[in-house]
Subunit: 545 residues, 2 copies
Amino acid sequence: MKIALAQNNYHIGNFEANCNKIIETIKEARDKGADLVVFAELAVCGYPPQDFLEFDDFIHRCENAVRQIAEVCTDIACIIGSPVRNTGPKGKPLFNAAVFCFQGETQVFRKALLPNYDVFDEYRYFEPARTFEILKFKNKKIALTICEDIWDVGNSRLYTVNPMEELIVHEPDLMINIAASPFNYGQPKRRLEVLRENVSLYKIPLIYVNHVGAQTEILFDGGSAAFSADGHVAVSLPFFEESLKIVDSEELAALKSETDNLVIPEKMELIQDALVMGVRDYFAKMGFKKAILGLSGGIDSALTMVLAARALGSENVFGLLMPSQFSSSHSVEDALALAKNLGSPCSIIEIKDLFDTFDDSLKSHFEGRTFDVTEENIQARIRGVLLMAFCNKFGYILLNTSNKSEAAVGYGTLYGDMNGGLSVLGDVYKTEVFELARYINRAQEIIPENTIIKPPSAELRPNQKDSDSLPEYDLLDQILYQYIELRKGPGELVAMGFDEKLVNRVLKLVNTNEYKRHQTPPILRVSPKAFGMGRRMPIVAKYLS
Amino acid sequence: MKIALAQNNYHIGNFEANCNKIIETIKEARDKGADLVVFAELAVCGYPPQDFLEFDDFIHRCENAVRQIAEVCTDIACIIGSPVRNTGPKGKPLFNAAVFCFQGETQVFRKALLPNYDVFDEYRYFEPARTFEILKFKNKKIALTICEDIWDVGNSRLYTVNPMEELIVHEPDLMINIAASPFNYGQPKRRLEVLRENVSLYKIPLIYVNHVGAQTEILFDGGSAAFSADGHVAVSLPFFEESLKIVDSEELAALKSETDNLVIPEKMELIQDALVMGVRDYFAKMGFKKAILGLSGGIDSALTMVLAARALGSENVFGLLMPSQFSSSHSVEDALALAKNLGSPCSIIEIKDLFDTFDDSLKSHFEGRTFDVTEENIQARIRGVLLMAFCNKFGYILLNTSNKSEAAVGYGTLYGDMNGGLSVLGDVYKTEVFELARYINRAQEIIPENTIIKPPSAELRPNQKDSDSLPEYDLLDQILYQYIELRKGPGELVAMGFDEKLVNRVLKLVNTNEYKRHQTPPILRVSPKAFGMGRRMPIVAKYLS
C-alpha cells in the first residue's frame, strides 16, 4: 500500500483555505499513485483552535469540511484530523478524532490521551476515548492513533491507559500517528526517541504526520517520518516546510537499514529556522507585509532585524533609530551599519525635544523630585509612541525585541520597549542571543561585531550598563533556566552551588514581574518552557517574593 | 456536633499569612465550642495556585503548612484543602485534597471531578480520585467532597462518575463540601440551586465552605452556608466578607423551616461589591495603597473612580485630567465635579504641547499624509505616558477604565487608554456601566448627571462620537452577549433577528481584536464569561473575520 504523508501548514479557523489545501493535496497524492493520504491532527480547523471549539458554528464548519474532503476520496482514502461530537449521554461534548474517509464513507477514531500541560489544554474540550478499534484498509490492519496516544512511554506514566497496548492485541501491520506536536529546540530529538521507542516495543512500521507552520506563539517544525519495522527512519519530511512524500508500507515492513534518513539540525540552526518561520507565518496569517522595530545598536534589536529580514525580505523591515542624549555615538553607527548590511530602510528621530516637553509638562507636578526610573521609562515610552505612530500611519507591525532574560526579571519598560505585535526573542535567553548572533555571523559579518562585543546597556541614563541592575547574564541565565525550565526551587538551587542571596533576588524578580509579562506580546516559543500560554502564574501571589 | 464554617480570604503562595490565619481561626472556633472547623478548598496555598503547583518546593511548603495546622488540632478537628502528592505509579503527580486533621493524625480525601473549563485548569495539575471513602468523626458519617464533586447534577452530565452517588451508599449523616467557587453575578443563585439539589437528592444536611476575596481577576464572594436536611439554608455567611459561624449538625438534621436564611443581593449590588472587593484586594495583596486614573469626564472613568474610592479611600485615588484641543469644556467640568463629590485629589495637564512636539518630530516622516487614527492614538498614548510617569514617580497603580464593550470590539488604544495594572470595568458592558452608575447615584448624585446623559465620545478628533464607529450600545451589547457569553454563531444570531451585516461586522471586530486583548491588564471577572483566563482564543486565526 502506498501511503502519502502530507505535512501541511494550516490556518486556524480558515476552513476554506485549509479545505482547499487538503483537497489539492489529495489530488496530488492520487496523481502520484498513493492509496492513502495521511494528514495531521485537527487539520481541518488548525491547531490549537482553543475556545472556538465551544462554538457550535465552528464544529459545524469542521463537519462540513470533513464532508467535502470525504467526497473527494473516491479512488483514494485519507485520514484527516477533526473534532467530532460526543453523542453519548455523558462527558465533554467533543472528541479529538482521526477520520478515515473512503468512497464517501467515514470512520471515526478517537484520541484517548489528552495532553493538558504546558501549552496544551485538550481536556478543556475533549472527552478521552475509552475503547479502541483497528482500521482495516486494503487487507492491512492499521493501529491509528493521535499524537499523545503514543507518548506515554518510558518509566513515568502520566496516564492510566495506553492505546497501543490495547491495539497491539489485534496484531496490526502498521502504526499511523497523526500529530500536532509543537516545536522546541529539544523536540526533534525527543520526538525521534519516542517514535522509535514505539517501533521497538511493537515491531511494526510507523507513519507519523505532524503540522508545520506557526500559530502565533506555537511553532510546528514538521519532522514527519516513516519508520521501518526495525526502528529506523526510512523517509523523513523536511523541517519547517510543507512537504508531501509517499512510502510503500510493504517496503517499510521489509526494510533493514543501518542508519536514519534524518538529520536533526543543531540547536542554533533550529532556533533560527523556527523564529524565521514564526515571523513569516505571523505576518502571512494576519495579512501583513511590513515590520518595524526600534534599532538601538544593541544585539537584541540587531538579531531581531536579521531574523525579520529573512522572514519578510530586507526591504520590508524598517529600522527606526531614536537616540536620546544618553545614547552613545557607537549606538547610532552600529545600528546604521546593520541596516546597511541588510539593505533595509531606516530613519532617525532624536527624542530629546519630546523628552524635554514631557519634562516641562510634568515639572510643576514633580517639583523637588530627582531623575529616577520615571525619566528612564519616559524615554522608552516616547520610543513606543513613535514606533506605534509609524505602525498606524503606514501599516507596519511592531516587532518586540526583548529577550527571555529581560522578560524573566522585568528588565524592560511596559508600554515602552515591551511593546509589539510579536516578540521574536522573548523565549531566547541573553546568552543564547549572543550564541545565535555568532551563528548568524558564521560566514560573514551581518551583525556588526561591535554590537556583539560591547557591554549590554539600555542607555537610559549616563553610562548605564545592564550589569548595574542585574547579575552577569552567564550566571543569571543559569539560575533562570533551572527555575523556569526545570522548576527548581530555592533550596535546590542553593544545593547546586548558587549563592543564596542571589538566588532569592533572582526568583523574587521573576515572580514579582508576572504583572509585566501578563501584558507582553505573544512570544515565539522555542524552548520547552516559554513565557506565555505554556506558563501560567498568578499575579497577586506572594511566593518567593 | 458543633461545626465551624471558616470563610477566609487567602493569599496565593503566602504560606505564612495563610497558616497564621488558619491557626487563629482554629483557636477562635475552639474557644467558641466547635468540634470541627471547616476551611475552603486549597486553603493552605490559595486558589488558583496555577503553575506554582509544578514546583516541588511549593508542594513541600503546602505539606509543611498542613503539618503545622494538624499540630494545633488536638481538642478540635479541622478539614483543610491542600494539594497532596500522588504516590501511585501512574497519573498526574498531585491530588486536590481535603485533609482531615485531628489529634496529630491526618486523613486524606481526594477530589474526583476536576473542572477544566472557563477559568479552571484543574486537570492540568491533578489526577482525579477513583475511590471514595466516608469520614467518620464523633460517631457521625460524613460525605466529604470538594467543590465540583457535587456540581454534576441535572440533565447534562459532564463527568462519567458521581462522587455523592458513590458515597451515599454508606448512609452518611451529613455532607460537607469545601469549595473554591468563583463569583459571577449569576453564581450566588446558581450555587444555591446546585447545593439545594444535592440536599434534595440525598436528604441529609449539607455544610458548604467557600473562599472569599480576590486573586487578581478571580473574585470569590463567599456565600458559605449550612443547609438543613429539608433543603433550606439554616445559616448563611455574608457575601464578600470573612466570617466564622458555628452550626450544630443535630439541629441541622432536625430543622424544619419554611424559608432560607439567605438574601441574594440584586445584580448591580453584587457587581458593585465584587468590583470594590477586587480593587481592594489587588492593592492589598500587591502591597500598594494609591491608585491613579485618567479622568476624561466620561462615564467609564467616573465609575472606575467611584469604585476605587470605595475600595481604597477617596484620598488614595488620584484623578489626572489631560484635556487636548478636542476635549469639550464640559469634560473638564464633569471630571472636576466628580473629584469634588468624592473628595479625591486631582490635577490637570494639557497635552497640546506634547501633541505638537510629536507632530513636529514626525512631520518630515509623515509628509503629505493627513490626520487619521495615528494622531488620535498619539493623544491616547501621551496620556498613557503621563499616567505611568505619575505611577513611577509616586508609587501609584494605574487603573484601567475600559469597559467590556470596548474591549470586545477593540475600541481603545493599545499602550494608551488600554494601559493599567488592573481593569476594573473590563467585564462590564457599556449598558451595564450606565446601569451601575444609576445604581451608585440611587440615593444622591455622586457621578455628575451630565457624565451619565451625554453621548459617549473618545474626544480624539472634532465632534467625535462612539456611535460614529460603533453601533448603538443597546444593540451592540446584545450581540456581544449572545456571542461571548452564550457562544452563538452568526447563523443563530441572524435567526434571532439581528441584521446579518451588523452581526458579521461585530463578530469580525471581536475576533480581529484578539491581539489587543492579549496585552490588556487583568480584568476583574463578574460575568460568566470574561475576557482573560476564562476565554482563550488564538490570535492569528481567521474565523468569522
